[in-house]
Symmetry: D2
Subunit: 381 residues, 4 copies
């Protein structure tokens, strides 16, 4: 009689830098925290053999490899987790989906819309075969933001009319900070807008449940050239961007993102203003959600600081007693959990965002760039 | 036929320093803000003729005088407002009450208990004659603290079990700050405990509605000598004090006060923990009251920042539109209002605290000092 | 021999509503707080005789009057303080200036640019004769914002590259709040943009020392009709507005204003990001300025909460000891002080903003409206 | 030739509940984050075979066992990590040390002083043999508190004169919450004082570098009986405790701990006031340290919010880019790192606190209890 015990789901991780480390942490931690299908950290993939071997050792993967195509072809790999730079996403994701693997792809979906469209096509076919194609806008799984979504869905804000999102960082304030691949359009695809603005806009659409239907945008490169290897070199992506978004539910949202916001380290700030309530969040204090119930008696109304660490809060039952806060990294574990549940349960635990959402977001970003190029005029999606 | 139009209530202010300025501001402002009996700022009194004349001009009093006894004897004076140093309170207040005047006396009631007892005696007789004897613990009339009292009285905190009060300042941090009368026991009576600890303890008793029945205390003089006119001189009052209070409703309160709390400017912080709710306040942000409703669903519980500037809030109808915050000084105007209403309406608008409350508080302060002298042992009142 | 003692400067106040009350408070208080030329509160003017008589009594003006033209003609009036609705500003201010009076005019300067230009013309002539024509953007005299200006002027921020200003209120969140003159274009001139957006933009230009040279704007009316006396009536001004501003020093600023920002009461928030420092402010906590020194060692860098209550801080020497905070109203006293010093000292204490600055600001507001009407396109000033 | 490659250090974890899970997370994560000697998670030990087997699977330990004595005897075990309830600490730790193992023991060191003394004795002997005996006051390794220690050690606070520590939780606010072993003296040893007060006092001694030399204390049981299996049962440990501590460097510290502090979830708050600076911390926002430099110009002095996420900050180089905050759990990884470095490097990376520090702390706790029993009188250590 054959052994019918299901073997663990084999995971391959492509990439071992910042995101590769964060995803590794999640794969190591998820079985300890949640009841999920068993997994095996089979192989980590990178181009530099020595470096990826060292990463395998430190990050606790069984093997390392340098050719992602070979890895994707392996029978013992069920999940391909893509943490490479964006320009490689399309090729790897499409190949993995065609090879029958589940895919988790880091954001942004792709560096351009044509690639993104091809990925959506591949995902559609794969999904029909029962595979999962997941996109890693991890902040959706920060518990305070997941709680915000619950509040909105429960109608606690009434009609949302106005939203504000800013994503502010300051790592480019120094005008003498050297040139890098992240500041060249051909390698990075985009600047602050694509990198962090995408998070801000994803949150606005996700939390409000409203989609962008028209945009006005501006981009700016505040330090236009920086020291390169051979003298000053032009910066060809945006340092900061602003957008005004019309949502299809009638709300208007403002977005502001910057890598020049002195003193802001990783400040994704979101505010939602509704007819019956309001919400406020800042990723620098990720365990706090500020909620105002505008239906409460005026004399006691005010923003409540909800410390999102109770067992009643999203994802929290898995962790520590109340008041023991989580860090930035925990959301990656929540993402791994949700991916595994989607693989196990199908539509019952559908993973969002999927590739189609990523493509829709990419079109919003493109429209912002187009608007700026057209002197600020409204671009309708 | 005699003129029966009531003439304005004539006010005499004794003292023109810090408190004299604050009270003058209140007397000038109260008719603009509130519907109160008409007043006339008749005379301001001080020992230094030139200085008090200048004060009369700047602070807008009709006259100045140097002899408070003569002023108290005047028929056109109805209210005597005492802003002198504490060691003069008893003599002036008793004389004014015996002369049939209403009295507002700055805190502390007196420098020692014997004086305070005599004042209470005089006030009792005067009250029986329809006079008002009011004690100026002005912070009771900070709107956020008045709102706190409303919340407690409405049962929103349930049973209060634990209270914390701290009053922290830092103006003595510099060990080379010179000696002054405030640092000598014979002139100042006491140090941080009497000056600011009295506010902290008054708030605890007032807000909880529970009276202190036993104390344990400690006092400390952290910089024991300071530069005087003739070389180093010993500091003979406390720089800081701590107390643990048993209240007659079963709650326990901690008190900490200091003039050496680096970085704290005027930070009177109060926290109340009850079976059904909690409150938090800091005088450095006096327009905010933080309220937690422990009966709300756990997932949305948290301290709410109530910006106490709504017409529904205590004293606020008189002022500006919502969100236009008040300052430290406005509470003095509220105090003047409440005094005038008490004069007009008697028991219907009884003024609290009265002198008896001041005496009771003085006895708590004495007990703290006694406890410290007895190595920390509990002193029962 | 004639009496050469200068008589007090006679003040006439036109208007007795919200702003009239705030200005009255300032005129009553300024001699107590500051060393300024003596003033007399001669006359308060309004159309409703009974109401203005009552205002005179409560707000402590010597007389009341109903005809501002007669008042302006009086020899004993030196200063005309205009607190009427905006559509009356031009007529009164021009007449008063032509009559040789000093003028303080509440913001906005006028309801349209043509009026504003005429006012600037009149002010220019009057200034040449030694008169002062002052515009009441009072928030410039909030001590924390005055301190912010000092920090910028001292170079503590380096080159300012990015600025954010939002002015958020929530008094129109209720869609059933009734129609009023403030929501009709013909009476109000404009909505949130003119009323509160003007403050936000004035601060940006003032603090950065940079002038707007191009704008992109959007306006929105989120609740398009409201209950009127005869059924639903269209709201013809903006509930909220957004703008992106290019400044002539190279900085880019975002502006967002709203009367629909649930939970925000009077939240004028300003952030400045410079190459060497950053600043943050919120009018709901007006005694705090947050300053970040980006030249400090990284390990100890962070926004410092400066409690702006020290004698070393702007305007503070006049008030109370450190830590005793000011309220919204105190800035009006500072404004009266600065006006009186400008009258006394001329260019040495020039009052800013003057009417020309008000006109320039009006043009920025107009350009934002024009941009919105042109689908968001850049309008260059 | 023999294989001289050092084998990984074998770790045995005794206990698999809350602390066992947190320590497991640390052992899994430490090699990914830090350059430390290699470890193997050999065996997890518990009394309930089924439960510990499940724990081994979830928490990723090679084996499970039910007899800690057998485990301690194993040659492949180098480190014994004790996460059992306190009453088992002494027996296990002493046995493990005598068996030549390195030991990490969770706080509190022991349930009584006699046990603690025996443990110190065993540790002294073991240390002489080159073993490490470490005590798990994990909060010392919260980066913000480690940074606080650096600031103090660098003299940035000058002379510390006053300290405040509070550790506030609210999980016992509900008077109907049922009786449990934690509320019985015979099983728990102590209540809030031992459980969380120990952290507060450890921080005070550690951060100030001053040791407690005398105490005054109070304990209270606010809800004296709770529902037990057979009706109401007396609570025999403290719900809350207060202490006033004299430190040997001259500072005075106040301590307040409570499990009844409504709205406080896990709020360990620390404030240090020195002659040249001040610090403030709250464990509910563990990535923030507030530092005030009292030597800065007055006009710009204020508490700076340092977001402790820079590579320059303690332990941070191992983690994520700036602004990506850590959670409560990361400090356990730092603790594992420091233990491994102490094992590798000996005195060069001495681990603190050791058992002797734990005993000294136990004596402070005992003195607080003794003081309360003696009506609050000072107890000298």
């Amino acid at each position: 009689m054959p052994d019918t015990t299901p073997r663990p789901l084999g995971v391959a991780l492509i990439g071992y830098a910042f995101m590769g480390r964060a995803h590794s942490q999640a794969w190591r931690t998820v079985p300890a925290a949640f009841d999920v299908p068993e997994t095996a950290r089979k192989v980590i993939v990178g181009r530099d053999e020595q470096a990826v071997a060292e990463a395998a050792r430190r990050l606790d993967w069984e093997e390392h490899a340098t050719d992602w195509r070979e890895v994707i072809a392996r029978d013992d790999i069920d999940i391909v987790d893509i943490c490479t730079p964006g320009f490689l996403h399309a090729e790897i994701a499409i190949a993995a989906l065609e090879a029958g693997k589940h895919v988790l792809c880091e954001k942004p979906l792709a560096n351009d819309t044509a690639e993104a469209e091809a990925m959506v096509e591949a995902a559609r076919a794969a999904t029909a075969r029962g595979q999962v194609a997941a996109l890693g806008f991890t902040y959706r799984r920060v518990p305070a933001l997941a709680l915000a979504k619950q509040f909105v869905d429960a109608g606690r804000l009434g009609t949302i009319r106005q939203a504000k999102a800013a994503y502010l960082q300051d790592w480019l304030v120094d005008a003498q900070a050297p040139m890098s691949w992240r500041l060249r359009k051909e390698t990075a695809g985009s600047g602050a807008l694509g990198d962090i603005g995408s998070h801000a806009i994803d949150q606005i659409q996700h939390l409000t449940g409203q989609q962008v239907r028209a945009v006005r945008g501006r981009l700016a490169t505040m330090v236009p050239e920086r020291p390169g290897d051979d003298g000053p070199e032009p910066v060809t992506v945006d340092d900061a961007a602003w957008a005004n978004l019309e949502l299809d539910g009638g709300a208007i949202a403002s977005v502001e993102v910057s890598r020049m916001a002195t003193g802001a380290k990783n400040s994704l700030r979101i505010e939602l203003f509704g007819s019956e309530g309001a919400l406020r969040f800042d990723l620098e204090n990720p365990n706090e959600l500020w909620f105002l119930d505008a239906t409460a008696p005026v004399a006691e109304q005010g923003y409540s600081r909800v410390l999102v660490t109770e067992p009643e809060h999203p994802y929290l039952e898995a962790w520590w007693p109340q008041g023991h806060v989580l860090g930035w990294e925990n959301a990656f574990t929540h993402q791994a959990r949700d991916l595994l549940l989607a693989i196990r349960d199908g539509d019952e635990h559908r993973f969002s965002p999927d590739f189609a959402e990523g493509l829709a977001l990419q079109r919003v970003l493109d429209a912002i760039i187009d608007s700026d190029a057209a002197d600020g005029i409204t671009i309708t999606l």
